[in-house]
């Protein structure tokens, strides 16, 4: 994050913006985002083909948030995630095959097939898991921050949650103790515009980021589809937590390009948004914007093609691995309730 290069964020637009990292780093971040996108697109496809045993909540359109935040974290830092959690997992762990195998419900899945899409976790990489309870990760992340603070490990904890979860009472309780105890915690709200099937504005009063300020927590809205903006804001918040100065709240404004859950049109009696709205927002999606930025930095088609080929091959291999993996031994259904 040292080599600053001057360029314009959108071609032809002034003033130019300086990158907080090298072009190579930007390309790395883009690759991570692309990995997530490709996994999610393939999951959408195999879900429609009836290949998956359970529902999937896809992260398409929000990739910059997970990638931009997790770029600041090491394996000893913690994250707690949401039901839309594949992206957070893939931003912090390289175990793509084990993630896909878990969603397939196979023995080789990262949770042995006992968690599925809503519980993908790689604890060895500091991932406490996706979570089926809206807002469930907030308190888990707060607890991880309490461990870090109490034992002086220097670790930082990030709690991802959606705009829907912002309306769970646990957020107020967590903000209070995080401020009171100066916990090394970054609360990242991904406002993707929808609380399940309800537009945010119909269920949420005021602005979510402002909910941190009365507690004295530095809080701000961020363009969550801009990898550079996410990276910058998360960097400041993570550094602040690591220094021991306490928690931050970031409201990443993004947009959920897929439904709340795949195949939702098969059971919804009416729509909650128009196709025109989705198409308009697609023009602002984070991979498109990152590609545009990279092109401005001189990254050429051959370089993009190389990244796409590499990530595509990784994802192909992960899905082949998952589909070929055995089902879990039924005896495992009766294990792991107690340590």
């Amino acid at each position: 994050m040292t080599s600053a290069k001057t360029l314009s964020a959108t071609p032809g637009e002034a003033p130019p913006e300086s990158l907080p990292f090298s072009v190579d780093t930007l390309l790395d971040l883009y690759s991570r985002m692309l990995r997530i996108r490709l996994v999610e697109e393939r999951l959408a496809q195999v879900q429609s083909e009836g290949e998956l045993p359970g529902p999937v909540h896809l992260y398409i359109g929000q990739e910059a948030v997970a990638v931009g935040v997790c770029a600041h974290l090491t394996d000893t830092d913690w994250i707690a995630s949401t039901h839309r959690g594949h992206g957070h997992f893939l931003a912090k762990s390289r175990e793509t095959p084990k993630l896909v195998a878990e969603v397939y419900g196979r023995a080789t899945g990262v949770c042995g097939g006992k968690g599925g899409s809503m519980h993908v976790a790689d604890v060895s990489k500091g991932i406490l898991g996706a979570n089926g309870i809206v807002g469930g990760g907030i308190a888990l992340a707060t607890g991880a921050a309490l461990t870090a603070k109490t034992h002086g490990s220097g670790a930082v904890s990030v709690g991802f949650f959606g705009d829907g979860a912002a309306n769970q009472g646990v957020l107020m309780e967590a903000l209070n103790v995080a401020a009171l105890w100066k916990l090394p915690l970054v609360l990242v709200c991904e406002n993707n515009g929808f609380s399940e099937f309800s537009p945010s504005e119909t269920v949420t009063a005021g602005e979510i980021w402002k909910r941190g300020t009365p507690m004295g927590i530095p809080s701000r809205p961020v363009d969550g589809n801009d990898i550079v903006a996410v990276y910058r804001a998360a960097g400041e918040a993570v550094e602040r937590a690591r220094r021991g100065d306490g928690a931050s709240l970031l409201e990443m404004r993004t947009y959920r390009l897929r439904g709340h859950v795949e195949a939702e049109k098969t059971f919804l009696a009416k729509t909650y948004r128009t196709e025109e709205e989705v198409e308009a927002r697609r023009a602002q999606e984070p991979l498109l914007r990152a590609r545009s930025l990279l092109r401005d930095c001189g990254v050429n088609d051959a370089a993009f093609a190389a990244v796409e080929a590499r990530e595509g091959a990784e994802v192909d291999a992960a899905f082949e691995y998952a589909a070929a993996s055995p089902w879990p031994d039924v005896s495992t259904a009766f294990q792991d309730m107690f340590a």
Partner: protein, 329 residues
């Protein structure tokens, strides 16, 4: 052995384990001042980074306990009155009881949830529940219900060395009761029932707060010439069914005393298990002495009418002893 009060025994057990293991942290409402005394003085010994006063925020407390435990702390989450378990129930039911399972065994969750439960003190329905059957139904939680200071200290120390979430439910208002507690270090493993009386006519299983009235009932029954075996399971998860079944095989009769409401009580569960596993040895129907399906009332006259006592236990025992001959024995 020296006599110690229940809260002293608990306090000593926590202090010894916190001294032994620096990973243990304790948090809860008013744990510094400790109105009931079980955590009194720990702040002075272990400091504010390990003994943490929380706001009244059970929702985040129970979830935080899971997050802290999953990341290397050993957590004591003090919930004060048992009914506040309901306020923090989401993370208990959805995270603590399931996270290890959902993650395929990737995490250990060494959490001790402490609360005082049960009625008898005119604090009415929202401070008097006995919710151990609700917790037992979740499947991933150990549940200790000590009836003596000796058991309390031995089990809290065992729970603090365990790697799974454990509820430590003490009978409310009974912290002042004294009992023998040895000076030396000892552990009472979870899942071991105690046989407190030995008799041939009937087996009485009494849980937690019900052990005391059951002991009185045994004394009264002895005067009437009825010998009762009294079993205190000490933990309801894990439940020491072997001890119960062994006794029922000898007596052929079973009375279970539980302060939970009767529907889906632990008494119901024990009865069902004994019927499944030892039907042939039963000489009489099993009787449950539990709280009828009402909330706990405030007035002492009403509360006394609701709570099981020695007289009700004696009556239930006489009932099952008298039906001998009516069965195919």
């Amino acid at each position: 052995m020296a006599k110690k009060r229940m809260v002293q025994a608990i306090n000593e057990g926590i202090a010894e384990e916190m001294q032994r293991d620096p990973r243990i942290i304790l948090f809860g409402e008013d744990v510094h001042i400790s109105p009931i005394g079980d955590t009194r003085g720990l702040i002075d010994r272990f400091g504010p980074s390990r003994v943490i006063n929380t706001p009244i925020s059970e929702t985040v407390m129970t979830g935080m306990a899971v997050g802290a435990a999953a990341t290397g702390s050993r957590v004591i989450c003090h919930l004060f009155y048992g009914n506040f378990i309901y306020t923090g129930f989401d993370a208990i039911a959805n995270q603590a009881a399931k996270l290890r399972y959902m993650l395929g065994g990737q995490v250990k969750l060494p959490i001790l949830f402490m609360a005082m439960i049960g009625g008898g003190r005119s604090v009415a329905a929202q401070h008097s529940d006995s919710m151990h059957p609700i917790l037992a139904n979740l499947g991933g939680l150990n549940i200790a219900m000590p009836a003596t200071p000796y058991d309390a200290k031995g089990m809290i120390k065992a729970a603090l060395r365990a790697d799974s979430p454990t509820f430590f439910l003490q009978a409310a208002g009974r912290g002042g009761e004294a009992g023998e507690v040895p000076e030396e270090d000892y552990i009472l493993p979870l899942g071991q029932a105690a046989e407190l009386r030995k008799g041939d006519a009937v087996t009485i299983v009494a849980i937690g707060s019900m052990v005391k009235p059951a002991l009185r009932a045994c004394d009264e029954l002895a005067k009437q010439g009825i010998g009762a075996t009294l079993i205190d399971p000490r933990t309801v998860v894990p439940m020491d069914y072997e001890t119960i079944l062994r006794s029922v095989a000898q007596t052929g009769r079973l009375v279970i005393v539980d302060e939970a409401r009767k529907t889906c009580s632990m008494a119901s569960e024990i009865a069902a298990t004994v019927v499944e596993r030892a039907f042939a040895s039963l000489k009489a129907p099993i009787r449950r002495v539990a709280v009828e399906d009402v909330a706990m009332p405030y007035s002492p006259v009403l509360e006394k009418a609701v709570l099981p006592d020695a007289a009700r236990i004696v009556a239930a025992v006489r009932d099952v002893v008298q039906v001998e001959g009516a069965t195919n024995d």
